[in-house]
């Protein structure tokens, strides 16, 4: 599949220019046409900032200090200006359907505010288009619901409205920032099915940010695992989740209780916590928490390298020592004689 969105060497900074702190450093990934790409990590890993940088909606005080953002147009990858792609090539769905919708606008007006401003649609054309869009996102009674206010809708329906808003300008990429985190599992599943359906029907690409590995597993084709502002592993979802090539991904997978986790043993927690943007260690940032770290890890430059025998790319230099591919989670995490805690 050909690439649609390419992020290269993205660097985000905050704080004084003389001594900046970098919440995101040298992050890159590529999303193909029609692909669902997951950006997964714990809070503070930089995943949401990365997503916001793609569409130029960084919070105040955070600036892009490097990197290129490219979108495919007319068969070629080209750097874009945010004004060109906002509400056109790239749409965005936010986490909180309670706060992200303007409470003073009716649902139908919200959905078509973007295209009305951009394309000068008439009020009447906008109304009928709004009803179509609400129907497309599975609102049970789109005509009546177009006249409602956001507060009259449940969380799941509000999230559908937000998706309809993002679709109104016919984007080719939909950026989703934890759109199901505030929802119940049953509603979450409906929204994931909806996203999957519109992606298939429209040939849309999706970049999906979440901390929930199960959600990535359900929706996404490929995934990048972020830790402390960097991508530590990337690959196809079924590969990364069954044969992780980085001790952090493996640790995350192991620490999550599943329906089959043995109940008579402690969970395999990762010791310590993720370092904040201001106090990240030199070299491999996961090394202080890693059971396999070697002295060399502290001086390591961050490179996402191909892993022999695996389609994934990993930032861990010990991948080859850890038994060689295929790596399984157990092998990756069991202590090695050479490893220091």
């Amino acid at each position: 599949m050909s690439p649609l969105l390419r992020i290269t060497d993205l660097v985000l900074e905050t704080g004084p220019a003389a001594a900046p702190v970098r919440p995101v450093s040298h992050v890159g990934f590529e999303v193909a046409h029609g692909e669902a790409f997951g950006l997964v990590g714990e809070s503070g890993s930089g995943k949401s900032l990365t997503l916001r940088a793609v569409i130029g909606l960084l919070p105040e005080g955070v600036r892009q200090a490097g990197g290129t953002l490219e979108l495919e147009r007319d068969g070629a990858m080209r750097p874009y200006r945010f004004a060109e792609v906002r509400g056109r090539g790239i749409g965005m769905v936010f986490q909180e359907p309670m706060t992200a919708l303007n409470p003073t606008m009716r649902v139908g007006d919200l959905v078509t505010a973007g295209p009305r401003a951009r394309y000068g649609w008439s009020r009447r054309a906008a109304r009928s288009r709004a009803v179509d869009l609400l129907a497309e996102v599975g609102m049970p009674d789109p005509k009546a619901q177009a006249r409602m206010w956001p507060h009259q809708l449940s969380g799941g329906l509000r999230q559908r409205v937000m998706i309809a808003m993002a679709l109104a300008t016919e984007p080719s990429v939909l950026l989703c920032d934890e759109p199901t985190t505030a929802l119940d599992v049953a509603v979450q599943d409906q929204i994931l099915r909806l996203l999957h359906r519109i992606r298939t029907e429209r040939g849309l690409s999706i970049v999906f940010v979440t901390h929930d590995l199960g959600v990535v597993r359900r929706l996404c084709d490929r995934v990048a695992v972020m830790y402390a502002g960097q991508v530590v592993e990337t690959g196809r979802v079924e590969e990364v989740f069954t044969r992780p090539t980085h001790p952090y991904s493996a640790g995350l997978l192991r620490s999550m209780p599943t329906q089959d986790t043995p109940r008579d043993r402690p969970l395999a927690a990762i010791p310590g916590g993720q370092p904040g943007a201001g106090d990240r260690p030199e070299g491999c940032r996961f090394a202080p928490r890693c059971g396999h770290a070697l002295p060399a890890c502290a001086g390591l430059a961050h490179v996402l390298a191909a892993v022999p025998g695996s389609p994934s790319r990993s930032a861990c230099i010990r991948v080859a020592d850890l038994g060689g591919p295929p790596l399984d989670r157990e092998a990756l995490l069991s202590p090695l004689p050479g490893g220091t805690a």
């Binding site: 714990e42 809070s43 599975g138 119940d184 599992v185 049953a186 979450q188 599943d189 409906q190 994931l192 099915r193 909806l194 999957h196 359906r197 298939t200 901390h211 929930d212 590995l213 199960g214 959600v215 597993r217 359900r218 929706l219 084709d221 979802v237 079924e238 989740f241 640790g251 995350l252 997978l253 620490s255 999550m256 209780p257 599943t258 329906q259 089959d260 986790t261 109940r263 402690p266 969970l267 395999a268 927690a269 990762i270 010791p271 916590g273 993720q274």
Partner: protein
């Protein structure tokens, strides 16, 4: 399950937030719920937001009075509102460790004030010693004594929340979504701590969560709550693998699993 009288007996609890006149529409928030937990056991309570599980928790903890029903601890009924001694016997760990701790107070002050007020320590220095013991119990140490919540990570704050609940030596601990705001790797460590404490202190626990897999891991038994009622109760693996109630089945089916089907798998690609 062990025989004998359960330590905690919740009988026919109703919580109704609707005005007394014109109680129309759906059922009350908690609709005649009865449950019991044997001493030293953990009951998991699972349900979606709005099912009434937090309302039930607040009533059991004595933070709110029920519309009807009784709560017995060790065979004796707990009055509502509870007196000073009874108030300490059931303690709660809250969901959001960021807002459940006073942001102005250091960990030292949070714990020692509580210990002194409830006469769990004689004098400041004894209270500080006990505070350190409690912090060590939950996997922290004296190092965090002078930190304020802002200076702690989410996992550390939740551990302080657990230490605070344990400070008054409760017989029952209620954990209401106590790990759901935490990251996966941190959540695992806090779950381990909770389970370890349950075993070491012979604590009786009510573990409330929307997450089936997490609940299965910590609980000896699982009860499923839906629209104010307990619709199913049983051993964790039975409830998850052979759910009998329709609602439990839909909950299990909607939970994303690491080994579950991807939406792009052919049989799953049906319309919403």
């Amino acid at each position: 399950m062990s025989a004998g009288t359960p330590l905690l007996q919740v009988d026919d609890i109703v919580v109704d937030y609707r005005p007394r006149r014109g109680r129309t529409g759906g059922p009350p928030a908690v609709d005649h719920v009865s449950l019991d937990i044997p001493r030293g056991r953990t009951l998991g309570l699972v349900g979606q937001s709005g099912c009434g599980k937090s309302s039930l928790a607040r009533v059991i903890a004595g933070l709110a009075a029920p519309t009807g029903g009784t709560i017995r601890l060790g065979g004796a009924e707990l009055p509502a509102p509870r007196g000073r001694t009874d108030a300490t016997r059931i303690q709660m760990v809250f969901q959001d460790p960021g807002s459940a701790l006073n942001p102005m107070h250091t960990v030292r002050r949070t714990l020692t004030e509580l210990l002194l007020v409830h006469r769990r320590a004689a004098g400041r220095s004894a209270a500080t010693d006990r505070a350190v013991e409690l912090l060590e119990l939950v996997g922290l140490g004296a190092a965090v004594l002078d930190a304020r919540p802002r200076g702690l990570s989410g996992g550390q704050r939740q551990r302080v929340g657990i230490a605070r609940a344990l400070a008054v030596e409760p017989e029952v601990l209620i954990a209401d979504e106590a790990v759901s705001a935490l990251d996966v790797s941190v959540q695992a460590a806090v779950l381990n701590t909770l389970r370890d404490l349950g075993a070491r202190l012979d604590l009786t626990m009510l573990f409330i969560s929307h997450d089936l897999a997490v609940t299965r891991y910590v609980a000896d038994e699982v009860a499923v709550m839906h629209r104010g009622r307990i619709v199913e109760r049983g051993l964790p693996d039975d409830v998850l693998r052979n759910p009998r109630h329709e609602y439990t089945r839909s909950l299990v089916a909607a939970t994303p699993r690491m080994d579950g089907p991807a939406l792009s798998a052919p049989e799953e690609a049906r319309p919403v």
